[in-house]
């Protein structure tokens, strides 16, 4: 995959667009964007992004592969679906944003410390471990994501809330030790590994 993370594409030629179409969920829609800008204008977070959706689509067509895949813009999407509802061309923009983020992650071009990426990864690791989400551990790893000191501080801040949740049986401290899970964990892991293999095999390399 290292060759894919550093592929060179011709500007304004279809190379990168075709790569996106092949590898990104709903990527075949990118060509249909007519650059009206309605999505960027509708996105509640658009003004804070380096590249709002409309621009991302043009960048793809302009062959700005590296800029797109290393951008943190699509990681900022909150899935509010405003853009999808409004796009006159019917592009599933939200899905494309997530698809792009995922593809950038697979190629490991996505920014390392992008918080959404980190949280998604945390969540994935948490849920795939036992086949069930371990909320206690997920919460704790979130508190301690920036180190021990800030973690303790963060945990103390939410002490009352945590105790209340335990009292009402919304949280089980015993989960800390392993926690509940599916019956056939190794089967699950084998299945996920297979899925990953299939996905990777499907990845299409850029033309050159």
């Amino acid at each position: 995959m290292s060759d894919m993370s550093s592929a060179v594409v011709e500007k304004y030629h279809n190379d990168f667009l075709k790569e996106v179409e092949a590898n990104v969920e709903e990527g075949e829609w990118v060509r249909m964007c007519m650059q009206c800008g309605v999505c960027s204008g509708s996105c509640p977070l658009g003004p804070h992004w380096a590249h709002p959706p409309q621009e991302i689509f043009m960048m793809i067509r302009a062959g700005k592969r590296e800029e797109v895949l290393t951008s943190d813009s699509m990681w900022m999407c909150t899935s509010c679906y405003n853009c999808i509802v409004r796009c006159p061309r019917g592009l599933p923009i939200t899905h494309i944003m997530h698809g792009l983020a995922h593809y950038a992650h697979v190629l490991d071009l996505a920014p390392k410390n992008q918080p959404t990426r980190r949280f998604s990864k945390m969540f994935w690791d948490n849920i795939t471990k036992n086949g069930r989400a371990n909320e206690l551990k997920l919460g704790l790893s979130l508190y301690f994501k920036d180190g021990f000191g800030p973690g303790v501080k963060e945990a103390l801040k939410n002490k009352a809330l945590g105790q209340a949740m335990m009292k009402t049986k919304r949280m089980n401290p015993m989960e800390f030790f392993g926690g509940h899970g599916v019956k056939d964990k190794s089967g699950l892991h084998a299945m996920l590994e297979k899925a990953r293999e299939i996905e990777e095999a499907k990845l299409k390399r850029p033309a050159n």
């Binding site: 011709e10 500007k11 304004y12 030629h13 279809n14 667009l17 075709k18 060509r31 249909m32 007519m34 650059q35 409309q54 621009e55 043009m58 960048m59 067509r61 302009a62 700005k64 061309r89």
Partner: protein
Amino acid sequence: MADEKLPVEKKIGAYICKGCGLGERLEGAQLSMIAEREAKANVVREHDFLCSEDGVKMIQDDIDNEGVNRIAICACSRRAKTDAFNFEGVAIARGNLREGVIWARPDTDEARETTEEMAADYVRMAVWEVKFMTPPSSNPEAKCTPDILVVGGGVSGLTAALEAARAGYPVTVVEKSGHLGGHVADSWKRIPDRAPYTDPVDTGLDELIAACEAHDKITIHLNAKLTKTAGAPGQFQADISVESGPTVTASFGAIVQASGYDDYDANQLPDLGYGKSPDVVTQQELEALARAADGGAIKRPSDGKEVKSVAFVQCAGQRSEKEGQLPYCSGHCCMTSIKQAMYFKDQNPDIDTNILYRDLRTPGSGGEDFYRSGQDKEVTFTKACVDGVEAAGDGLHVKFKDLILDEDSEEVVDLVVLAVGQVPNSGVDIDAVAIEEEEEEGEAGEEGASPANEVHVSVESILNLDYRQGPDLPQLVYGFPDSHFICFPYETRRTGIYASGPVRRPMDIVSAREDATGAALKAIQAVENAAKGRAAHPRSGDLSYPSFRKEGCTQCKRCTVECPFGAINEDEERYPVFNESRCRRCGTCMGACPVRVISFDNYSVDSVGQALKNIDIPDEFEEKPRILVLACENDAYPALDMAGMNKIEYSAFARIIPVRCLGSVNLIWITDALNSGYDGVILMGCQKGENYQCHFVRGSEIAHQRMSKVDDTLQSLSLEPERVATYEIAITDIQRAPQLINDMAETIEKIGMSPFKF
């Protein structure tokens, strides 16, 4: 002067309607008395419901049994009930008591007196007007050839020919080149005009040519030109000269000018690489490459290499303010580039195609679908401003600013296609020639004084019209010889000659076919109207035509110069010669004539002059001013009618007379009005100038020019200049038009009554 034209017996019938609330608001008996005693109508009748079958029959009976030949209908506006009040063989005037009086005035006791006075005046005006009208009959000399001449054998010309021929009219096509089909003959495919609008389709030219050649009503002359076109609708005489062949003269009823366009000269665009690299081509040149490829891979001109990447530069030398470039949009070229990008994509989807546009314009019902289809085929669309094209190494470097990404960029491609615009083949710009001539006359002797940078292109005339105003169609804008793109397409300022296809406005094949069908229909109308001696648009069906009293004419030439339609030629003695089938009946000539010798049967200096002079003018001390409003019948008069319908009140002192066009207003009417004691005069015409709305193109403009001289008249009478005002009114000005009348009433209150009341 009109008297001599009147038949011995003129019998006037005045009919007063009491329906629509008129009976309740107005004193019918009083109005009848005025019609009879004052205005001297021979027969006067009231009716409760004049437009009813019974009312109409009453009038018809008088026409049949009493010999009434001039009727004054004092009821609703002349724009209402035209079907009911449509009597053959008589002159008709209308007194507008409904929209113009009771609907425009409040129903109150205080208002009653002035409202009644208003109605009485409209009765007087109608009777006096009709007294000076003659029942119009078409010119007995009207004759007509049904043949239609089509100038140009491209898609528009051939389509017009086929449509007219299929409708039963013999058609002659004159084509200057040796083959039919024009630019389309060199084209590969065209933009689709049917759902699903996804792919380029066959041009259909071969079938069109075959159909024309096979049609027994169509005669085609190749390598031929018009060396002279004389006459008028119904009886044009055209000299058709065939290269190294004979010149034949033939008669035609109407002409369709489909002389097409030339591509803008791409050599003027060296920045875009044209002329520097053979791989920079125009859209038309790409058509040729596509034809040569015949469905296979398109090869670039320089070395025959198969094109793997192509960039389309939109608006090349168009929509530009740069000197020597086209200021307008040719309308079709965005779609044409999409079509051409598909030539590549359909053949090989891996070819990179990039359309660099400033604004992508895809007009027409299928435009958006076709654009979408282009995107679906992975044509890249880039909103960009192209700075230049340079040849370097094996490719062309297209440098541009990406307007979405807001950065300078560059793409390397095998081929660049320039979307250059269409330049109409409209012949000689007669207005420019006229101005030049004037200047030459002005600077006689100073030869060679014209500035060096001025380009004098000698353009060959297309029609070689034997018209006093010049050999070709007057141009509207940018060289396109239309007269109003939106309100009356195809109508040029030469009646019976219709422009069609890209010579009228830039367009593609599909629009050209539609256009040609429209123009063919117009030509057929012109033939039929000419045969019956009737006017064409916008006074369609009017039988009257201008005639002039030769003895009075001073050969001043004003009418021949001012006629917006070039209807008037000059004879050897320099007297005007009216070609009534060229005439649109605007009356501009009548307004122009300083000795007032031009008139129509149903519209003359007298018919209006007598109406305006014969109202009742109360003396100065009654404090009842009179305001004359001369309102254009196309826009201002309907606006005032609609004001009445909407119960928008205006001053009871206004007396409104519809005129055919402000251009028909003769200054004598203003002088007469002021001399008779009117306190103010308002002229309401259509918008003039570049975005004119005047139905006769130049009438309103000419009137405004004439009125700028009215100050002299006012001065000689020692009257204030505020007493005469000229306005441009749109049909939608239903609030403003009444307001202007009220403003004049206020002005008069300020400056006082006119001293000319006797």
